[in-house]
């Protein structure tokens, strides 16, 4: 074995599925998870980020329950008038679909990456990024609309002040995650196209970027349920 830090060790032969396998993994030398350093680090980071969003949502939930002011009717606030009639939450629904779509394209990009299909992989990643960017765009539109309706972090004409505060804070923080993801994806996609990972023979970075992207989508699932559907 020439290079002892490289990570090509196969899982211990004794491993059987189920909890025995868990025990075997944790008892193994050199590494616990049969994944690379980068991927395990991304997972751990996402775990930490889960706590960030978990605390944000918990805080929002607590102030919402505690305040005695009426909470604005969310589905009306986020209704849009289309084709002459007001459709509740329609923009949010579209945003949700866009984000889910981007998750789908991302998943396929990862798949093509492992098939060494450079062009398709990059194209799908760019599509993901474009969907992400349009999501941020719609969010910006939504912010503008709400601000026009008089919603501010410190109050709003429709009821509890915490509505605006939690809205801007939570969607803002999520929006930042999406924007960062878009940049990340574009950078990785360019490298994929340039063949950098081909030369290294390692497309894992695409999968890691994918993990991050799916996480952003995952967070949105919770925001959608707890903020918009409550």
């Amino acid at each position: 074995m020439t290079n002892p830090t490289s990570q090509t060790q196969s899982p211990p032969a004794s491993a059987t599925p189920g909890w025995n396998e868990v025990v075997a993994d944790w008892a193994a030398d050199r590494r616990v998870f049969q994944v690379s350093w980068r991927k395990s680090m991304m997972w751990i980071f996402l775990l930490s980020d889960t706590f960030v969003f978990g605390c944000f949502l918990t805080g929002y939930m607590m102030v919402r329950i505690a305040t005695t002011e009426p909470w604005p009717n969310v589905s009306e606030v986020f209704a849009l008038t289309m084709f002459g009639q007001s459709i509740p939450l329609i923009l949010i629904a579209i945003m949700t679909f866009v984000l889910i779509t981007s998750s789908g394209t991302m998943a396929m990009a990862v798949n093509y990456a492992y098939r060494r299909d450079r062009v398709r992989c990059a194209a799908l990643m760019l599509a993901t990024a474009a969907l992400g960017a349009s999501f941020v765009g719609m969010q910006a539109f939504e912010w503008t609309k709400l601000i026009e309706d008089g919603v501010r972090p410190w109050g709003n004409p429709m009821g509890a002040a915490q509505f605006g505060a939690s809205f801007f804070l939570i969607t803002g923080f999520h929006g930042l995650h999406v924007s960062a993801g878009v940049i990340y994806l574009v950078i990785v996609a360019r490298r994929v196209l340039a063949g950098r990972y081909e030369r290294r023979g390692d497309y894992e970075i695409v999968e890691i970027a994918g993990l991050y992207w799916h996480f952003v989508d995952l967070v949105w699932v919770f925001i959608f349920a707890f903020f918009y559907l409550w």
């Binding site: 830090t5 751990i44 102030v63 923080f173």
Partner: protein
Amino acid sequence: MTHDADTHHEPSSFWTRYVWSQDHKVIAIQYTLTAIAIGLVGLVLSNLMRLQLGFPGRFDFIDAAAYYQYVTMHGMIMVIYLLTALLLGGFGNYLIPLMVGARDMVFPYLNMLSFWVYLLAVLVLVASFFVPGGPTGAGWTLYPPQAILPGTPGTDWGIVLMLASLVIFIVAATMGGLNYVTTVLQARTRGMTLMRMPLTVWGIFTASVLALLAFPALFVAGMMMLLDKLAGTSFFMPAIVSMGRELGHEGGSPLLFQHLFWFFGHPEVYIVALPAFGIVSDLISTHARKNIFGYRMMVWAIVAIGGLSFVVWAHHMYVSGMNPYFGYFFATTTLIIAVPTAIKVYNWVLTLWRGNIHLTVPMLFAIGFICSFVLGGITGLFLGNVSVDIPLSDTYFVVAHFHMVMGVAPILAIFGGIYHWYPKVTGRMLDERLGRLHFWVTFLGTYAIYFPMHYLGFLGMPRRYYSFEDYAFIPDSAQDLNAFITVCALVVAAFQFLFLFNLVWSAFRGKPAESNPWGATTLEWQTPETPPRHGNWGEALPVVHRWAYDYSVPGAKRDFIPQTEPHEGAPPGTDEALAEARP
């Protein structure tokens, strides 16, 4: 890969070697020195506070506002910027790769960034001393609404910089923590299973996991408070009349902040305790020449404490006005967490039992740690038991508790650790006589400071009081006791400079150290060079054949067997043989 063995050529220029270094050992030293520097600020602040408490009115420049600023900055600096940074960034950085047999952290560049971001956090913190209005005086717990309303010092700039600095610190801690956790999980050397790791690594590793999961709550609370302050939101602000003026807030919950803060805060106290536990386990085992007693139980205790520490947070809130029924849940979980902690104490003590105890300087500090920790821990049991906490909460009893368990015990562990690993870091020994003097003054001095303080708490003296004059229930003798405590604190603080002197002097003039002066088994003592060079291990990584505690093994020639030494004729099929046989 981010880096391989072959990319480890020694950096050549001064800048890349000592300043923009990506070597975990250099980063560790940078972290340590920065933490000590800011820790000294905390120390000076504590003495200023003590001057006021011991000799009220004698020092005019300490007015009430300044006092509260000192208290706040003292607490925050000590907990976050000194202990957390020193134990994770300093000890963690230095020891993890060496102890698990890695060439470096898995992401050296991120590791370097972590330090520079930490330094930025410290600078922002220090800057808050110089802004108009001074640093915040809201107490280290930063409870709103008080922290952002007039009537508290530093509500213009101080609190904003404090929160900003915390957010920056969290970024640094996250970058560091990701590295430490991934390195321990994924980058150990051959044969180094988790159950062969030294307890120091276990402690730091678990603390890093806690940091990654607990700091988010502080981050969220900090962001929300920043918005309350700067954007007029009402997360933590109900309708308030402050100084006769009605503020525009409505409906927020001050208790939410407290819950979030302590959801972070309680794991945080274990973030500073667990690494100390680990360090002390290794010091005791090494210097008693005996394997740590009940290694498995020790590991499980660390893990259990780490897990439980997330469900005890509201024991800081028994008198906060929260839902009273929470008291049952949190009192129960809090006292349950004492069981694994007690097991650790027993195992340290039982390691001494039937040992071969060398009272070296690190060992003195380790035993001082046990004594201080036991005292601080059992007073924690008073506070954890909700109905006992109610009379004692917010009195000097609490101050005594947490100084004993956090201000003294981990600091003693750190000192012990520094005396123990200094030879590896610098290649020279610290002066032994100065070390002993330092120990005696620090151990007995802090005991004299904090033991009597419990009784001020029983008496009912509230904490965070600028002055206690004209309170009928406080006898004059309590004032004399306060003066006594102050004198002790001044002496102890003065003797810390002896230690600093020792650190500096020995780096140049100390007795040259052998590569393994204490006869220790763990990997860091088996490096080809002392101090270890970039990449740590020379040509080949070490291979581990045994646990970290083979001291005084019957039949062995020496009273310790390094982890790298193969078993003689391990029977085929055993764990040992497998580890050997694996490619």
